[in-house]
């Protein structure tokens, strides 16, 4: 500790004076925290590696172990499977939003943020934005994996990109939902344990892995129209054609269903997450 004399305090920044500078601060703080969250991802490459290993194992498991026993009419099973895998992967990934926030709370970082003259909304926005960017990476990886095991999209690049955007939008809404879980959990381990019972029924009682017609009729209603399923059906329609869903519904039907669910979830989750963030002591 060599020269520790402090100059008189000077550089205290001006407080934002209008709504315009408030927005500017929100954006700049969100960028700062998004960068910080993404840096953390690159600093633990093992975590990123293993979080892609798990979905790859699901691909191999369903493609080569269960797939042979699952009958799909309009398309090959691998074409049926991959859209489901994409949505499942980002849904499981959304759990990391809850773990990340719970960890920041636990370690006292959010305490520090609260005492800084920064924008209040930036902590949640920075976290969800970072998870959105990570999902782009994950979908690119999973697309390559899919192509390697025989996945052949049939509808062209534009349609495929549309499907990817739909998945990302849905995953973003889920991130806000899991932000609430992260802000409620006492620690990051509990956040993880709390998240999986929420995500499991949604991913497996769905159109993701097996045709809906193979389920008992009392289950089909939920399995068809729950938000996760309609997003899978929308992506499947956009990637390999509406007939592949085996539901007789059109592509636009599923796309609107998915968009409506996603917007609805955002309208519910965002205010709840913000309130939880404000009141968490």
């Amino acid at each position: 500790m060599t020269t520790a004399t402090l100059q008189p305090p000077a550089a205290a920044p001006a407080h934002p004076s209008g709504p315009l500078s408030n927005v500017r601060w929100l954006l700049s703080d969100t960028v700062t925290l998004t960068r910080r969250n993404l840096l953390a991802v690159t600093r633990i490459p093992e975590a990123l590696f293993f979080s892609t290993v798990q979905p790859i194992m699901f691909v191999l498991l369903f493609r080569y172990v269960f797939g042979g026993a699952i009958h799909t009419d309009a398309t090959t099973y691998v074409n049926y499977l991959m859209p489901g895998i994409f949505v499942q992967t980002v849904a499981f990934g959304a759990v990391s939003t809850s773990i990340g926030l719970a960890e920041d709370l636990q370690k006292g970082l959010i305490e520090r943020f609260r005492a800084l003259p920064m924008s209040r909304g930036a902590v949640l926005l920075g976290r969800t934005t970072a998870d959105l960017i990570r999902n782009i990476f994950v979908i690119v990886v999973m697309t390559v994996v899919g192509l390697l095991v025989g996945f052949r999209p049939t509808t062209g690049a534009l349609s495929y990109i549309g499907a990817v955007l739909l998945i990302l939008f849905f995953a973003y809404a889920l991130s806000w939902g899991f932000a609430i879980v992260g802000l409620t959990a006492p620690n990051s381990e509990t956040a993880q344990v709390m998240s999986f019972p929420l995500i499991f029924p949604l991913t497996f009682i769905s159109a993701a892995f097996v045709p809906l017609s193979s389920m008992p009729s009392w289950l089909q209603g939920f399995a068809t129209y729950q938000p996760f399923s309609v997003t899978v059906s929308a992506c499947r329609s956009l990637m390999v054609g509406a007939a592949s869903t085996g539901t007789g519904k059109s592509t636009s039907f599923w796309v609107w269903q998915s968009l409506a669910w996603t917007v609805g979830l955002l309208i519910v989750f965002i205010p709840l997450a913000i309130r939880k963030y404000r009141t968490r002591t």
């Binding site: 550089a11 700062t32 609260r114």
Partner: protein, 348 residues
């Protein structure tokens, strides 16, 4: 005299399964450019007071002002004037030291070039230049605390809050950190320091408030508090309870307060340690009492509490059902754990 921090009748109750009244009418004032020590055991309300003052938490009632601004009504403004270093070293594990400082600088909305320059300055100032580009995972506990303190200083705060800055540190790191804090104060920063250690408060603070159950139970300079208490504690253990009782009677006359007999252990606070020790040894020898151990040590927060409230800090009270020997052993273990550089002069 200008007050940098003014607190009046602050109250805060945490609702939950068990209601906890964390602050029960706390009030104090901190003069500009001084270090104020808030001294109290775990759960006394120190951290809650700091969280209210740093705008993290809203009090139920009462007022708190920093540099004349109400922390509730002018929270956004107050945040631009303060720095906070907490007891849990709130720094990001996955970033490097430099990235941590830059993140805090950016969140303070300092210009980009100022942020970069401040990070270099602070890393040098806290002896972290070599470690600056290493991730925090490789830092020792002391280095983390130093970085945490550096992060609190990025925006050159006028008022600095240090919540138990050295809890859990080894003696060497603790001393290093004390030196840094002393230099800061030389620069004119107002500091509110919370601590469980009398020694720390004594070394750093010019004014003290002792807090217990969310209330200030004593205020004054460290000198006046020590004068009330006695500067040194003489601690003698005896082979039998009977001997302890007789020893207690002898030691009663040595200090401003009567001796405390606790099983086979006798403690008394005295002003002049060596002198009192000689007197005590002569008197014990004359009575034919042979002590098992004979120690001089600095008074602890516990001793302050005992003299102020007649009871020890909560943790010790909860142990009422254990024998004095067990209690002593536990306290020793705790002291060792906290690695306090206690001046223990074994008199042979």
């Amino acid at each position: 005299m200008t007050l940098a921090i003014e607190v009046h009748d602050l109250k805060k109750t945490f609702k939950g399964k068990r209601e906890v009244r964390a602050l029960d009418g706390v009030g104090f004032g901190v003069e500009e450019g001084t270090v104020f020590g808030l001294l109290g055991p775990n759960g006394s309300g120190k951290t809650t007071a700091v969280r209210v003052l740093t705008t993290i938490l809203q009090a139920d009632s009462g007022t708190a002002k920093v540099l004349g601004y109400d922390v509730q009504k002018k929270a956004a403004l107050v945040r631009t004037l303060i720095g906070l270093a907490g007891q849990y070293a709130a720094v990001d594990e996955n970033l490097t030291g430099r990235e941590n400082l830059q993140m805090v600088g950016n969140l303070n909305h300092l210009p980009r070039d100022v942020v970069a320059k401040r990070a270099v300055e602070l890393l040098a100032q806290f002896n972290l230049t070599d470690a600056g580009d290493r991730p925090l995972k490789t830092y020792s506990g002391g280095m983390r605390r130093r970085l945490d303190l550096a992060a609190a200083l990025v925006a050159r705060p006028t008022v600095l809050f240090l919540d138990e800055p050295t809890t859990g540190l080894d003696p060497q790191s603790r001393n290093d950190l004390w030196e840094v804090i002393e230099r800061l104060v030389g620069g004119g920063t107002t500091v509110l320091l919370t601590t469980q250690y009398l020694e720390e408060a004594d070394r750093l603070a010019s004014q003290l408030a002792v807090i217990d159950h969310g209330r200030v139970i004593a205020e004054g300079t460290p000198e006046s508090m020590k004068a009330d208490l006695g500067a040194t504690v003489l601690e003698v253990s005896l082979p039998s309870i009977d001997d302890a009782a007789r020893t207690g009677a002898i030691l009663d006359t040595l200090g401003p307060h009567t001796a405390l007999v606790n099983g086979t252990l006798v403690e008394v606070t005295v002003d002049d340690g060596p002198q009192a020790a000689m007197t005590a040894l002569r008197a014990l020898d004359a009575e034919g009492i042979a002590p098992q151990t004979f120690n001089l040590r600095e008074p602890s927060l516990d001793d302050v509490f005992l003299s102020l409230t007649g009871h020890r800090t909560e943790e010790e009270q909860a142990d009422d059902d254990v024998t004095p020997k067990q209690r002593r052993r536990r306290r020793r273990a705790k002291e060792l754990e906290q690695a306090m550089p206690v001046a223990t002069g074994e008199l042979a």
